[in-house]
Symmetry: C2
Subunit: 193 residues, 2 copies
DNA sequence: AGTGTAGGCCAACATGTGTTGACATCCATC
DNA sequence: GATGGATGTCAACACATGTTGGCCTACACT
């Protein structure tokens, strides 16, 4: 069965995204990707030039952040937590960035651009001018990427076992404080469920 | 100049820790490590057997958690945040685990063991029995590892720019809530500094 | 039927890697 | 000073990888 050029290219890209997400840049081999796509390694070179360009095509990713200004101010933390959870599970792009960014400076820079360029402006629109938006964006990144790391990459059992709602319940207030709160907002440990 | 066996072994181990921390497992080559240590690659094999065993020796790491029961209950979050900050900066062991654990299942399992075995019991001693300690330990791990990832690996500029005290101020309340609080503890955004 | 072109495969090359075994060199001991 | 073990180097092997160029094959069109 013969495929069209576009079909083959798409098959290669799909296989590449899976392999890069599962194994990282170095461990994901052209041969393995080609095998998954059911074609010869030479085809990968034909369609994408080299491994770096294939990776660049596979690592395309956008946070697709919602407009936070349409959300009630006191629910913005939970909304963002839920959005990231959905985003992580629907698109393996973030897994690719996480697995490769830790050992590839170019990818790390891309992640810096994504979080500064997409999350920063969003937060600037809702936050308190007294605390700079980049710091708030950075803090949100630490909690959100840490959750992705522990849940999907390291697979810490209690973190994997949490439901989406559990995650939103726990991370929501944290993100809320990072977004619109103040460093010294003390948590109250009095109320118990 | 001739060195003793132990000196050479220590030099190799030091070079290996730096390389593994900077480049990860695959990108850190025996040849580069040997070159850093000023010896022939064959010596590495003689003293450590193979690359995996060298890595196992280099990736030795302990969280060295303090006894939280001696700390006032409402300061436990800040204390833990400060401890992790110190630990990250003094010992490159965590950088090694972070850079390699994302693409190496054996290392990921080791991190699971570390956080479940060291952090879990500690938290069980101070927490609320109503919420299981493993979940609390997992949540702490998400925030603490996320900070390490963003600050030392991805180097997000606003996160790098924060002082140790800034980090403790922001992460302290978060960890406090994860440790002894309740999921629905709402942050108060009223007070401003 | 003949033919050109796009899609696909095969074999090979250059390179870098972990790893090994043979050889060299220093130093303590007799 | 001779000897033997510890310390170290060298060259090479076996293997996997990214990459390349040549060749094959099906299909559309005349």
């Amino acid at each position: 069965m013969r495929r069209s050029s576009e079909d083959t290219k798409a098959a290669i890209l799909a296989a590449a995204r899976e392999r890069f997400a599962a194994d990282g840049f170095q461990a994901a081999t052209i041969r393995a990707i080609a095998s998954d796509a059911g074609i010869d390694p030479a085809m990968v070179m034909r369609y994408f030039g080299n491994k770096e360009k294939l990776f660049a095509a596979a690592a395309d990713f956008d946070l697709r952040l919602p407009d936070l200004t349409t959300i009630p101010r006191d629910e913005v933390g939970r909304a963002l937590a839920g959005h990231f959870m959905d985003r992580w599970e629907q698109d393996e792009g973030m897994m690719i960035l996480l697995r490769t960014g830790v050992t590839n400076e170019a990818v790390a820079e891309r992640m810096r651009d994504i979080f500064a360029g997409q999350l920063g402006p969003l937060i600037a629109g809702i936050g308190d001018a007294a605390r700079p938006a980049p710091v708030r964006a950075g803090l949100v990144a630490t909690q959100v990427l840490g959750m992705a790391l522990c849940r999907y990459v390291l697979r810490l059992p209690p973190v994997v076992a949490m439901s989406r709602e559990d995650v939103v319940d726990w991370l929501g207030p944290t993100l809320q404080r990072y977004l619109v709160g103040d460093a010294h907002t003390a948590p109250s440990a009095a109320s118990r469920g």
